[in-house]
């Protein structure tokens, strides 16, 4: 990490440059703000340096890779940097079971969930609670490896497959299948503000609403209820820049079903026209004051 210029306002830590990272770079340049890029994959970190090595350095964490993201956050934060978001946020948001427990602890409505640690106990709890249920890997995104278990046969097939996978997939995490309109809501939080929201509609042949799976997006007005829920979730996760996903349950109203630590926002900018990169850059600059 090059720290030869003490006038740098902040650093952007990345491993790949998506639309989001390029828009942040472009926005900072337009504002004539001094910043530096750190390529996570080209840097090594001496972990036993003094604990204040990066004191007063603000680092925006934008690594796409979950593992790069989590571990580089731990390293830089441990050496004194202010990471946005923090290690606590990365840990809690990056794992669906951890997220569920944090949200529940704060009284934030979230889909009912349960977990099991062997295939037999997973089947037992599914059979006890009934179907349909949704199985999710505790770590993962873009809707991958999330499956709707409509009955016992479907559950047995998926769980048998899981037994041959990496041990992380033997942590069985299930959620209720929430009855809702065929959409969810992605809200972008920057600091103390919910700056934009979109509805994400599932593709006609898909029950999941992830944009990566072909869903479509529409602008969504941020209501007081949504704002309150998103800011409570943000405070619970101790986050600063987050993507909070909501579902509109027929029975329970708004539920927080996921909080994204290094959120993507390309589709939100496209649909709402709100300049999220600019708002993030302003937040980083203000964090340095």
């Amino acid at each position: 990490m090059n720290r030869n210029n003490n006038k740098t306002s902040f650093f952007i830590l990345y491993d790949q440059l998506r639309w989001e990272e390029k828009s942040l770079i472009e926005s900072a340049k337009k504002k004539d703000i001094k910043f530096e890029l750190i390529n996570c994959r080209e840097n090594s970190i001496e972990l036993d340096k003094p604990r204040d090595t990066y004191h007063n350095d603000i680092i925006l964490q934008r690594c796409v890779s979950y593992y790069n993201n989590l571990h580089s956050t731990a390293a830089f934060e441990g050496l004194g940097a202010k990471m946005i978001n923090s290690l606590h946020t990365a840990i809690m948001c990056g794992n669906k079971l951890f997220s569920h427990m944090e949200l529940s602890k704060s009284g934030i409505s979230t889909p009912k969930a349960f977990c099991a640690f062997s295939n037999q106990s997973a089947m037992n709890i599914l059979n006890k609670n009934g179907y349909p249920k949704v199985i999710k890997p505790v770590v993962g995104s873009w809707g991958r490896m999330i499956a709707l278990l409509k009955d016992k046969e479907a559950a047995e097939a998926v769980i048998e497959d899981r037994e041959h996978m990496y041990p992380l997939y033997h942590i069985y995490y299930f959620e209720e299948f929430v009855k809702r309109p065929p959409r969810d809501i992605r809200c972008i939080v920057v600091g103390e503000n919910v700056v934009a929201a979109i509805y994400r509609y599932s593709d006609k042949n898909e029950w999941k609403t992830n944009m990566a799976l072909g869903g479509r997006a529409e602008s969504c007005k941020v209501t007081n209820e949504m704002e309150d829920l998103c800011l409570r979730a943000t405070r619970t996760m101790k986050g600063e820049i987050l993507g909070v996903d909501l579902m509109e349950s027929d029975k329970k109203g708004l539920l927080v079903h996921e909080v994204n630590n290094t959120t993507e926002f390309k589709n939100t900018v496209r649909v709402t026209g709100i300049n999220i990169p600019s708002l993030i850059i302003d937040h980083l600059v203000n964090s340095n004051k």
Binding site: Q16, K22, V64, S65, Y67, G140, W142, R144, A212, T262
Partner: protein
């Protein structure tokens, strides 16, 4: 000119391209990462196919 390894379509490199930038094939949607080469940029499959963190 860079061609998609999946479908052979031409992939346009932005004029302000940077190393590690993600580019997408306009025809088949495959994602690639730009890497520096002697002639400017080459591509390799985007790492995000292997593991993920995102929207």
């Amino acid at each position: 000119m860079i061609k998609c390894a999946e479908c052979d379509a031409e992939i346009k490199i932005p004029s302000d391209a940077m190393e590690n930038e993600i580019v997408t094939c306009p025809d088949c949607g495959a994602s690639y990462e730009l890497i520096k080469s002697n002639n400017g940029f080459a591509i390799r499959p985007a790492q995000s196919v292997g593991e993920d963190w995102g929207e």
